[in-house]
């Protein structure tokens, strides 16, 4: 049986013209852009020869636009999922039903991501043009879509969690964008800044190998680095992977493998974060969670402290 929350959202969200208009506009712009690239590629040459390299550029640009779309819109779409129910005064009605906290959280998360999924799936034919004209395998296109979905799930699960614990949707949106900023820019700064500082203090001896590991591991959560690492892996291009390999210049094969497959490590990281935040969200919305484990209700902080002092006496 389909998740009732997801089913309801599927029924209501496509009612009315707004989402239909957004979908049409987005697909129209994407198709027009792709069409222009192909047209230019075909008719700019005197012999009407077609350069498959152009399709590669088209693939990267389209995928990058989708990735940007996900990172920018997912927080806004999901941060109101639970707090919206609370504001609308429908959350209690949902919590008294037989639906488990997990079903409610997953229903809300997937329902919020459904529209983004629709946009991504809607543009699949355009992305597949690259496949049609040669240059990239369909499995690579699907892998790219999978990577985007994993990123969307990761951001969505964090948003849903904030939506569970904060009453106001705006607070949740702000916090998710801050976390996204930390993931996209903070990780790069964290990887690079210590190097710059140490260069100035070159007298200090540093363990190069552990420094390389630190840089590689710090960059794993970065969605941008992971995205271009996947592009590099698919197209053999040199956007981040080879740059990083030559920068680190390590002979450690395990480290080099991680650098070459940052996208894969990133997907694993995203999966772990998604699982963690879904679990935390389930805990946050379950009104009687304490008793499930047979424990008594938690007292307010102040009372707990007082209790400890008394026990100590």
């Amino acid at each position: 049986m389909m998740n009732p929350v997801l089913r309801r959202e599927a029924v209501t969200s496509l009612r009315g013209w707004k989402n239909f208009a957004v979908l049409t506009f987005y697909l129209g712009v994407t198709a027009l852009g792709a069409g222009m690239v192909i047209y230019t590629g075909m008719f700019d040459n005197w012999d009407f020869s077609f350069d498959p390299q152009i399709m590669m550029v088209l693939y990267v640009v389209l995928a990058a636009v989708q990735m940007a779309l996900i990172t920018l819109t997912v927080p806004a779409l999901t941060a109101g999922s639970i707090s919206g129910e609370r504001e609308r005064q429908t959350l209690d009605l949902l919590l008294v039903t037989k639906m488990s906290s997990f079903s409610i959280v997953m229903g809300k998360l997937l329902a919020s991501l459904a529209f983004i999924l629709l946009l991504i799936v809607g543009t699949l034919p355009v992305l597949s043009l690259v496949f049609y004209f040669g240059g990239i395998k369909i499995s690579a296109v699907l892998l790219m879509v999978g990577f985007m979905l994993m990123t969307a799930l990761m951001l969505g699960s964090i948003s849903v969690f904030f939506s569970c614990i904060f009453k106001r949707t705006v607070v949740s949106i702000m916090l998710v964008y801050i976390i996204m900023g930390v993931l996209c820019l903070g990780t790069i700064l964290a990887a690079v800044l210590p190097l710059a500082v140490r260069d100035y203090n070159a007298v200090n001896m540093i363990n190069l190998e552990s420094e390389y590991w630190r840089i590689a591991l710090t960059l794993i959560p970065n969605p941008g680095v992971a995205f271009f690492s996947l592009v590099d892996a698919q197209l053999g291009s040199n956007i981040v992977t080879r740059e990083l390999l030559s920068m680190l210049n390590s002979k450690n094969s395990a480290l080099n493998w991680i650098v070459e497959n940052i996208w894969m490590m990133n997907m694993l990281f995203d999966a772990a974060v998604t699982a963690l935040f879904i679990a935390l969200s389930c805990r946050a919305i379950n009104p009687v969670r304490e008793h499930r484990h047979g424990g008594a209700e938690r007292k307010p902080k102040k009372e707990r402290k007082k209790g400890k002092k008394k026990e100590a006496v």
Partner: protein
Amino acid sequence: MLEIKDLVKRYGKFTAVDHLSLSVPEGTIYGFVGPNGAGKTTTMRIMAGLLTATEGSVMIDGIDATKNPKALRERIGYMPDFFGVYDNLKVTEYMDFYAGTYGIPYKERGGMIDNLLEIVDLTHKKEFYVDSLSRGMKQRLCLARSLIHDPSLLILDEPASGLDPRARVEMKEILKQLQSMGKTIVISSHILPELAEMCTQVGIIDHGRLAAAGSVQEIMHRLTQKRVIYVRPAAEMEKMLRILEEQPAVQGLVENTLDAEFDFDGTDEELAGILKRLVLADVPVVAFREKEGNLEEVFMRVTGGESV
């Protein structure tokens, strides 16, 4: 059916529910009355599994509600005091959604939804959008929603609040029908007379404590030493007053132009005896009844004079 023992709910230093104990037998309509902020909603939310109790237990059909919320949810239908509805959803889709949340198979839903909409008299609105319904209709729809999994106990938090008199009457009729279907109903209100007419049992809650419990008559009898009786004869006023003055249970007789009132301190049988004497003495009694408004006085007295 429902057994609450020593229920306590504290928010920091504030005690919302203070060692509340009550018992609701199967098939009754139990009125839960108290002024705003008395702890009615908190108690009902604990019953519904939406809040944990600090101390005490809530047993429904022998199941500890605080320890087994899943089993509890199958047995109770809950209607909160304030609730919202989803946009862009038709009445049947709304019901279908909640049927899904209780895991009711698709093929069973159609007939079940039609029956419930008929009970709450919303069949003619089944293709309307939920957010376009009036408040009274939304209340009735929410009641139908709470019945979708055929619960044995209904917990209704102020279902009549904000309704116009006609909608209140309709709600009362529906509740009576549900009682006849064997449902046990716990219903809250901050207005005692509103519940008195339809409840078999009433519990008055104040400052988180149960101040009085029992049938309306029992509570009245226990808490009022004197009942005010109104009597109107078509004629023979003098004769009527003379007979009344002779009765030892009659005190403070007040004579008006067309009728009279007196304080009565006695049993129902004694009161019936007075009426019989008047009739046998050929006094043409047109009206002989306990004066309304006493319920509110009782309520005010029990709840320490807070406004209703």
